[in-house]
């Protein structure tokens, strides 16, 4: 009974925060409420037996998205109140959404309760996958093609951001916050290493570790540390794509190794090597994710030729 009470409270809070975030008059309130919403989501994942997601959500969903939204707010300059909408502008969408909601409720409540065939299949094949944590097995072995594409999505977001992002608004750094961020750095590295290592047999893995590292790097960078961490540095670029490179290299190597078979299978890790391959990919993916996420949050104007046209455009505007 107490658990049910907890659930009701959690769901009520989630809904209230989401609604308040959508309806709030000031944009800054909307963002703050959304960050609180993200933290509660992480709690919800933990409640729903999804610790992997709770870790990822806390780091990515609440932390980084929040930082991103705040950066966007800061860039927008003065915090003006939102334009007020007439009741017609609010009523008709609300009516439409209520109808949609009714339909959705009808749908989700009649989803069958029986589990699909896949969880059993995962458990059955888990031994051959090279890792003992099923989520990692799905991510990096059973459906590794999804993961490769996902790393690509991340890289693409970075490429797009570097193209368009204006120069960041830096506040001057302050001794206390700088030394505190330096103090935190080793702790974060240790924790990220632990998460990465744990991913093979328990919740954790490349994304969580990468996101954590990124959070630490963002704090350091906001305090004018880690000046080498910029896209114009070729080593940074190298490590930003290292996850994908190692992934592709592993795929090709595994494919060549299995060449003895009549029909080589793509993305198939040799069972005896699977463990090491997955670990290797995860290490480099962690680095790549950390660098990419950091650069996404504190995107600086690159001095590389990546966006020559843009800079000329800006100069033309200035002149």
């Amino acid at each position: 009974m107490s658990l049910l009470l907890f659930d009701v409270l959690l769901c009520g809070l989630l809904l209230a925060l989401a609604l308040a975030s959508v309806l709030s008059r000031q944009l800054s309130h909307a963002v703050i409420l959304y960050i609180a919403f993200g933290l509660l989501m992480a709690l919800t994942w933990a409640r729903l037996a999804a610790p992997d997601l709770a870790l990822a959500e806390a780091a990515i969903g609440a932390g980084l998205t929040g930082a991103l939204c705040f950066t966007a707010l800061a860039r927008q300059g003065k915090l003006a109140a939102s334009p007020t909408l007439s009741w017609q502008q609010r009523c008709w969408p609300a009516l439409f959404v209520l109808v949609t909601l009714f339909g959705l409720l009808l749908l989700v409540l009649q989803l069958p309760a029986k589990p699909g065939p896949l969880p059993a299949l995962v458990m059955q094949q888990l031994a051959a996958s090279g890792v003992s944590h099923p989520v990692t097995a799905v991510l990096l072995n059973f459906r590794s093609w999804d993961t490769l594409l996902e790393l690509l999505v991340l890289l693409l977001a970075l490429l797009g951001t570097l193209q368009v992002a204006p120069a960041p608004v830096y506040q001057s750094s302050w001794v206390l916050s700088r030394s505190w961020s330096q103090l935190l750095a080793p702790l974060i590295i240790v924790l990220a290493g632990y998460l990465l290592w744990a991913g093979a047999h328990q919740p954790g893995g490349a994304f969580q570790a990468g996101a954590l590292l990124a959070a630490g790097a963002v704090v350091l960078k906001l305090n004018h540390q880690l000046n080498w961490l910029a896209w114009r540095n070729i080593w940074v670029r190298f490590f930003a794509i290292a996850g994908l490179t190692v992934f592709v290299a592993a795929v090709l190597t595994a494919w060549l190794l299995s060449g003895a078979l009549a029909e080589p299978v793509w993305l198939r890790w040799p069972p005896e090597l699977a463990k090491y391959i997955i670990l290797l990919i995860e290490i480099f993916a962690t680095l790549a994710i950390a660098i990419t996420l950091t650069l996404l949050v504190v995107a600086e104007q690159p001095a590389t030729p990546l966006s020559l046209a843009r800079q000329e455009d800006d100069e033309a505007a200035d002149g």
Binding site: Q171, W174, L176, S177, W180, L184
Partner: protein, 102 residues
């Protein structure tokens, strides 16, 4: 962590009292955050009340956990304390500079 059944009556009472105190501080801090007039007093309310609230909640939870978990919780509390202090100072400085500029 469901070893609560083995606790003595006094421990249960003590831990409940601590938990309730912590909750009270949290609620007070949140209400102050919403009601107080300017940034400084809000900062003051939030950081102090929340640090104390978290501390007593952790103290209340310590009755239920083993030493390793207790150590971790203490560490978490310390981290929250320190980062709360730093960010409070940062925000206050920011407010001050803005005020001076205006």
């Amino acid at each position: 962590m469901s070893v609560g059944g083995e606790l003595s009556v006094i421990s249960t009472l003590l831990s409940s009292a601590l938990l309730l105190t912590g909750l009270l501080f949290f609620i007070a801090g949140s209400v102050a955050m919403l009601r107080f007039p300017d940034s400084y007093s809000r900062l003051h309310a939030v950081t102090k009340a929340d640090s104390l609230g978290l501390g007593s909640i952790i103290a209340g939870l310590m009755f239920y956990c083993n030493w390793w978990q207790n150590l971790l919780m203490l560490l978490i509390w310390l981290l929250v304390l320190a980062s709360g202090t730093v960010s409070c100072q940062l925000l206050a400085r920011f407010c001050k500079t803005k005020q001076d500029q205006a």
